[in-house]
Subunit: 345 residues, 4 copies
């Protein structure tokens, strides 16, 4: 099978390449870039010397249709709007890592993303690819909207208690922390090393475009969910997301009971690891892997539960989950090409 | 005036020394240590070469009484229990940076600290030294319990809305993040560089000993407060605390209105800086200084406000506030010796 | 094939496990530890949840002889001295990652390591495992001394110009920098996060035990080499070694000519990547991989060449090279189990 | 006295402001910027809230002449070429922190800086401001070329042994390491956090523009010096420079003898601290201060000495030394406004 990556010179693109280039069912990986073409890939990424002799190709829709079975879009917001529709009638399956196809309501998209949304008929065809929560639909998807990094960590942390009505639907508060690679590869002063090192900041207060994505999926799980509080913080680390989630329990539960609920909910999900009581995951414990690790604890004093969910933002939060969805869409084992252990330390 | 520091070889002690050694009202700073004595201070801290010729002295109560007007205890938990009472009848004023004297309820202390509490009559004499909230009592204090780092950031962030009943008293959730120097200078695997770098973790879930300290002071501000949710996270940075605080508003307020409330509340507090609308403080913006910077924003969708409060844990969270209290106790200007700008970047 | 790892709870041990647990020729990996036994491995390393159900076993020589074909010793200095000799008459091949078997001269060992050396007859049997420089001997090795991290980076950087007499043998200066994981997993104040973060230091000035190891191998390449200058620096990063090497050229060479010499020298070495002119490797470009990347440049003004050699200290500097040697010793392809791309960023 | 800072929105400028705003002999500090004007300074640097109410002013030569006694240029290369000459006939003393006025040979400047040099007559008037080595000339300077960060650390480390002919003049090798703030405040991909964190790289191999600056001053100390080897490395830290210097001794010296030479050489230099035998400075030990700390050790095996010299690149490497020179030029005590202890940790 031949696959293509558009946006191969970004962090999401190169992580896709890392996985797909050793995926046993992928024969060839064709790399496209709008910014650089006819240039060796190792000019952008010298760490791939001896491993890649790819030349970056210009984005040509006909060429892609003729050569590629599955196309990954690891592109900035707005690119997919123009590109995806051109493949809808073709045999090429699309996995879009951008946020362009995730929100079903185009007004919401335009409100939060502050740019025009893709056409409604395209949106309708897009399947939301949170692998663990939507596997049946993903199997038949031809146009897949790969989830955002924060929504992945948050939704996997919340799904069991929200779906079962264990958590009060209007009490959900998510305090999220992310490493800097989530901001992409383009330099800007906000991510200049001396501004980030030994420092931390909150950003996009009340305005993160991942908020409606989280709420949309929570309402699929439980229609009573209205609005959540969600804040994002920039942490001086390269990779990793932690979502610390707070919510009120509708009834009295022990930590042990909730852990049993989570283990049961995720018993067929190889990438979700529920930690033992009194053990909580650190971000580095999933570094370079596709795992989502979850720990939780009930506070009897307040009647709230705290849920901690961590992922590697470039893996389960982007490229790893995209390949997991690729596996599901192609009928491969879900874990193919994704079995590598986290790198620690 | 002569002052003494017990525990001078710890991070809190050396930060006290940094401030006090250039304090215009301090003539001499005598350094005591239980672990090292008759050793030059610069053996522990070579960055003080040319600046200090101090020899660490053994802790001798009579010697201290004869030589020192104010004694700072920058000691591990449990030390103050034995040491403080010996000075109560003396002329020596005590400023205790440990947690031993902060909780008025000795059962609470023993429950959260898991060690015996100081005697009740000593506790009664101890004044809680959150400078901005307790200034009148601090003026006459002879035994001062200097606040913890998390309580300082949290309480300064919450005081205006809690005291005025603007925030629902049972809706308070504090997601706190700290740099590693807050854990002190003793090495342990949890703070081994490869375990912390490029990583983050939650710790002491539901069990942080600063929780009852925060609740105790919140109830002084507003007796309706019962329990808060508070979680602490370890961030790969040396200094800095951020408390991200969530709570429901009892009525409808705009961000602008709340900022006005905060500016009014802190109008006589030189170390509290309320940020402009849509501006939020990063931890590095208070690095090395005694400031507490606060930003906030109302979310009309959820009816909650998010308050961000940052301090340098070794300054306003420990040594800086101790000197601020020292100034208040001695009748000096509150900012004496504490006017240095943050170091940035 | 069954292999064993002694010292599985250290950083070198867990990196060995990461590689060997997915090595296609390894059927089972048995983990031994002197500090913890009958305990699940994931208690030490929760990042291996779902990936390992190993129970740490006590070190029992008979048990090892009966169950294991190749035994890796990832142990502190001094352990191998007692353990290795017990396997010499057995069928178990030993790969020792410690420094105990590397120096052929036992007086040198005792001078630099400040502890008793292993017996001479054991030393004689030990083969020095710098894979690229000693491949023929490694093929038949039954007792392999895996090189140190600094010697690996330094020797691969120097070998072509020293062996061919291009560099003046008495002009060699090596300025080495290392990440902190090279110091192992045990906490100490020197590696306490606040002491290392945003900081750097030189250490073991003129006294690093890797100096005689480098000199010994350089003299194998060129008997005229006498002494080198070598200094090591601790850098605030988790993984990575860079050796910046300076030396005088005996004759006039261009950078291009030297690069050709290096490419020819390493043409059969899949893990050594010679960079193009004016391109120099960063440590992160080999992160998590077994590569050694080398760049160099001649300075016509001074007649010296600067050579930059980088490795991941836990991979090519320890566990990766150990598996490379394991492959060579067992007749597998040298790269088996080691083909993963570096993780970037 | 009124002083002006041009380039106040850069890292060098804001560090100048930090020092000068609390300098007892400075009444007013006027801030100029070409990129932003009529904007509050705290818009660029919110950490200065409550400390600065400055409005950035446009650069107007007449306005400066009328209002300012000493003008600091903390500007990118090329700016000083146009600006400095306009003040030569005026009463305004100029302290230029850029490299434009440092090299006496304009051809050298154009070769290394790759831009046109300032006019020869302006160059002639410029005094090189390495305070410890050039104090007499600095006293009368009206146009001062403040040294580069690497030259400061390197020259202070080398001066005693080069001036006295103790070190072979053609054996000097400098391996320099720097934090990222030395690259300034403008973002670029090379300094994007994920590219720098947990990583290190060499840069400008053989081409650093500080090389001729170092050699020029070394030749003033000892005319036999020809060329040095100098390489610079980027370290994942915000502040700090370490120069590790290697050279051959002309005669046999002990470490103790050399330390005595250094202590004598710098006996009137309050900012140079010579470490005790077997003690070497870490960069953080001068963090935020104007100190240069030096340690050294002789290697009898090789006949070489290794000298380690550390500074804070924004302080002794830029703004701190500029103020030290300002003090000398104005007849103040050399340490005025510069006595603050390093911040540790």
């Amino acid at each position: 099978m031949k696959v293509g990556i558009i946006g191969a010179t970004g962090y999401g693109g190169v992580e896709l390449y890392r996985i797909l280039s050793s995926h046993p069912n992928v024969d060839e990986c064709i790399l496209y870039s709008s910014s650089e073409m006819d240039v060796p890939y190792i000019s952008s990424f010298p760490h791939l010397a001896h491993l890649s002799d790819h030349i970056l190709k210009d984005i040509n829709v006909e060429d892609i249709k003729n050569n590629v079975s599955v196309l990954f879009l690891a592109t900035p917001p707005g690119v997919s709007k123009n590109l995806s529709p051109q493949f809808i009638e073709s045999d090429v399956k699309i996995i879009d890592l951008s946020g362009d196809l995730r929100l079903k309501n185009s007004e919401e998209y335009e409100k939060w993303y502050k740019r025009p949304c893709v056409e409604e008929d395209v949106l309708e065809k897009a399947i939301y690819g949170l692998s663990e929560l939507n596997k049946e639909q993903i199997k038949d998807a031809r146009l897949l909207a790969n989830p955002g990094c924060f929504p992945t960590a948050t939704l996997l942390g919340l799904a069991p208690v929200v779906q079962k009505g264990i958590m009060n639907e209007n009490s959900i508060i998510v305090d999220a922390k992310t490493g800097v690679s989530g901001a992409g590869r383009n330099a800007s002063q906000a991510f200049h090393f001396p501004e980030v090192n030994d420092n931390m900041r909150i950003y996009k207060v009340n305005e993160h475009q991942h908020i409606p994505e989280i709420e949309q999926m929570l309402r699929v799980l439980n229609e009573k969910v209205s609005y959540i509080s969600f804040q994002s913080h920039l942490i001086p680390m390269t990779r990793g997301i932690m979502a610390t989630i707070y919510g009120s329990l509708e009834d009295s539960y022990t930590t042990e009971q909730l852990l049993t609920v989570y283990k049961e909910f995720y018993k067929d999900s190889p990438f979700v690891r529920i930690r033992r009581e009194n053990e909580f995951p650190a971000t580095k414990e999933v570094y370079g892997s596709n795992f989502c690790d979850i720990g939780l604890k009930v506070d009897e004093r307040t009647g709230r539960v705290t849920i901690v969910s961590v992922i590697d933002n470039l893996m389960k939060g982007a490229a790893g989950q995209a390949v997991q969805n690729f596996n599901i869409m192609c009928g491969f084992n879900e874990t193919t090409g994704l079995q590598a252990a986290p790198i620690y330390p």
